[in-house]
């Protein structure tokens, strides 16, 4: 009797895909149609986890677009603090689909949010990227001028990109009641700006809203750059806090589920939209939570490396597959070695007993491993451990090391 689950690719069956491969070799991207060539221009945006992807893609020699280069007078540490090169432009973390949509609306469609600059200790902060200037701007004018330069850079990178990789982070956000402009963080957090219930409100986007925002984001991108392809991933980093009146983990699962469903919906609707399973790699049962640090939230380096290994091996045109390297001789050799099991090597390699001489005999180890012999030597029943070993220990199979 035949049935539909017969003869599927190995990655469609749990044992072959999840329990049999080495833990670091679980490959949820197997079978993907996503292929990025190293020379093709890549832009990244998204939540905290997107920073890892940006850095790794950059370091791997991809044509990673950076629209806002650090001024020459800034040292590397200051440039990093000001988020130069963190993403393709200095938009900071973009957590929600609405935030990304509004970034393009501001850059290309003339959307000008009404929210004034946020202030702290006499300095001015851009409500839509408050962390890019840790010390704030000296004046509102400076902030607006810098914002204009930033939006120019956004226009440049998004019109040039062949690939836009967007890591979806959250569904919860804070927005302006006046025009719906979404902020990356709640007003007043970190002492920047001030929360005003008459002007600000909390929102937790539904799956329909996220799909609508991502569709609008794609449409805007397509309008200014018809050749751009979109890659969605979902950040595996849980919420730091939820404003919903419920457990933070419950809110996290809601948020990630919505983002995952929305990404899938876009992939089904449009031909040039892809999904890359960062979330699945990090949260996989095969990883056994090892990819989270002790705070159960921060993704560890080995986790990020696993994500990037899967990315480079499956989604990049020029990667040489390890399967092209002939492993047969080593496999055979290792099997022999495993049969050559420690001291019992001699059992399997008949007739070849390791020669233990008085010079190579470890007296201290022998007495430690055989306390009764140590007692006998102390009681002067034997001159030394070596004497005991030659007289009795060898034939008794005593441990020598």
């Amino acid at each position: 009797m035949s049935h539909p689950y017969q003869n599927l690719p190995a990655y469609q069956y749990w044992p072959q895909a999840m329990t049999q491969p080495a833990p670091g070799h679980i490959n949820p991207a197997e079978g993907t149609a996503l292929r990025i060539a190293r020379h093709e221009a890549v832009v990244t945006l998204g939540s905290c986890f997107a920073q890892h992807l940006a850095r790794e893609i950059h370091q791997a020699g991809f044509n990673y677009l950076v629209g806002e280069a650090a001024p020459a007078h800034l040292d590397a540490q200051t440039a990093q603090a000001k988020q130069y090169g963190l993403f393709s432009a200095r938009y900071g973390n973009i957590y929600t689909a609405r935030q990304a949509r509004q970034l393009l609306e501001r850059a290309f469609n003339g959307f000008v949010p009404q929210e004034p600059a946020w202030q702290s200790k006499g300095r001015f902060y851009d409500p839509f990227r408050p962390s890019v200037e840790p010390e704030g701007f000296a004046s509102q004018e400076e902030l607006l001028a810098e914002r204009e330069r930033h939006l120019e850079a956004v226009r440049a990178v998004f019109t040039q990109a062949k690939w836009v990789i967007f890591t979806l982070g959250l569904t919860e956000a804070w927005r302006s009641k006046q025009d719906g402009a979404v902020f990356p963080q709640a007003p007043g957090v970190g002492g920047i700006g001030a929360f005003d219930s008459s002007r600000h409100e909390f929102v937790n986007f539904s799956v329909h809203e996220v799909i609508e925002d991502l569709t609008a984001f794609r449409a805007l991108l397509h309008e200014v750059n018809p050749n751009a392809n979109l890659v969605f991933t979902v950040s595996p980093v849980p919420l730091a806090a939820t404003f919903e009146s419920r457990h933070v983990w419950t809110s996290t699962t809601y948020s990630k589920a919505v983002l995952r469903v929305a990404a899938e919906e876009l992939v089904h609707r449009f031909g040039n939209v892809f999904y890359f399973p960062s979330y699945e790699i990090i949260t996989s049962p095969a990883a056994g939570s090892r990819y989270y640090d002790d705070d159960l939230r921060t993704v560890t380096r080995v986790g990020v490396k696993h994500v990037m290994r899967v990315f480079f091996e499956n989604c990049v045109d020029d990667t040489v597959s390890l399967s092209t390297i002939d492993q047969s001789s080593l496999r055979e050799a290792l099997e022999h070695d495993m049969e050559l099991l420690c001291d019992e090597a001699q059992l399997l390699d008949a007739g070849r007993e390791p020669e233990v001489t008085q010079e190579t005999f470890d007296e201290e180890a022998y007495l430690r491993l055989n306390p009764d012999v140590a007692e006998a030597v102390a009681a002067q029943q034997f001159q030394s451990g070596w004497h005991h070993y030659t007289a009795h220990g060898r034939s008794e199979g005593r441990r020598i090391a």
């Binding site: 390890l322 420690c342 199979g397």
Partner: protein, 298 residues
């Protein structure tokens, strides 16, 4: 119910497995008889025959024909025999190998060697260049990143040989979740022996499910461990990558330089001559090709 004597005979894992079984069967007399030396010597140990003469069950890793020969020497009642696998798994430590001094026919002391270090010594490579061979490219081209599948298959075959194929999945799925579950290619951590012991116990006494019992047995193999090289740790996505070689509680080499110093000194002290040494079960041609190509670029 297992109430009488149990004899455990295996390799270095014997004592650990016996300790596990003592916890599981506290009212049984569990005797540990490690089989060392040649097979013929090992199975003729008076100690083994004496232990077996009082036992109702013999857990042994010896092939059936060998255990039959041993039993033939017993007078009177013979114990039931259960063949057990010796645990070997090389994916964490694929560089570990054995080296034989062809002048004496003996294995080196320590038994454990690095194939890269041994090859470098054999080819007269100085220590500083040898040190540079410990890199991702060497590991990749020597196939060190791709040993999980063959190692798993080897273990599975070992279980099948012992007619314990139904135990393999519950054994392996459990231990692989523990991360690096081996101290070296043939020294399992105690959690591995605990799981093996529990599954064997379940086989012997199906009505008593011991899998949930916390055994907390001392790990006497823990003093000796081969490092999980950082690049291999990254490939296997496991924490704890390092270059720390432990040959006993006190004999520890931290870092590649330290280890190579020890290794070269030790080879010299053992009068190991490059022309009279064999890196066992390794493809020397492959080592020459992969490592030699890098040396020419240094």
């Amino acid at each position: 119910m297992v109430t009488q004597g149990i004899v455990v005979s295996s390799n270095c894992q014997t004592n650990g497995l016996a300790a596990v079984l003592r916890r599981i069967f506290p009212h049984s007399d569990v005797v540990s008889v490690p089989l060392l030396g040649t097979l013929d010597q090992a199975v003729q140990q008076p100690q083994l025959l004496k232990a077996l003469s009082n036992a109702s069950l013999w857990l042994t890793f010896t092939p059936k024909d060998v255990s039959d020969r041993v039993l033939a020497q017993l007078e009177g009642r013979r114990p039931q025999v259960l063949q057990i696998p010796a645990i070997g798994f090389s994916a964490f430590h694929p560089d570990l190998c054995y080296v034989r001094n062809e002048r004496t026919g003996a294995l080196t002391v320590q038994h454990y060697n690095s194939a890269i270090a041994a090859w470098a010594y054999m080819r007269g490579v100085d220590r500083s260049d040898a040190r540079r061979l410990f890199n991702r490219r060497s590991y990749r081209e020597l196939g060190y990143f791709d040993q999980w599948g063959p190692s798993r298959e080897f273990l599975e075959r070992s279980f099948k040989y012992c007619r314990l194929q139904d135990c393999f999945e519950p054994f392996f799925l459990h231990v692989q979740r523990r991360g690096v579950f081996m101290h070296s290619t043939n020294h399992p951590k105690i959690a591995v022996l605990e799981q093996l012991g529990k599954l064997l116990a379940l086989k012997l006494v199906p009505e008593r499910d011991v899998r949930a019992i916390e055994l907390e047995v001392h790990d006497e193999l823990a003093d000796v461990s081969w490092p999980l090289y950082p690049d291999i740790a990254e490939q296997l996505a496991l924490p704890g990558g390092n270059y720390i070689w432990r040959f006993s509680a006190r004999e520890v080499y931290e870092g590649i330089d330290d280890y190579l110093d020890y290794c070269y000194r030790s080879y010299e002290a053992q009068s190991l001559e490059p022309g009279h040494m064999t890196i066992l079960h390794r493809n020397l041609e492959q080592l020459d090709t992969v490592l030699g190509a890098q040396l020419r670029g240094f």
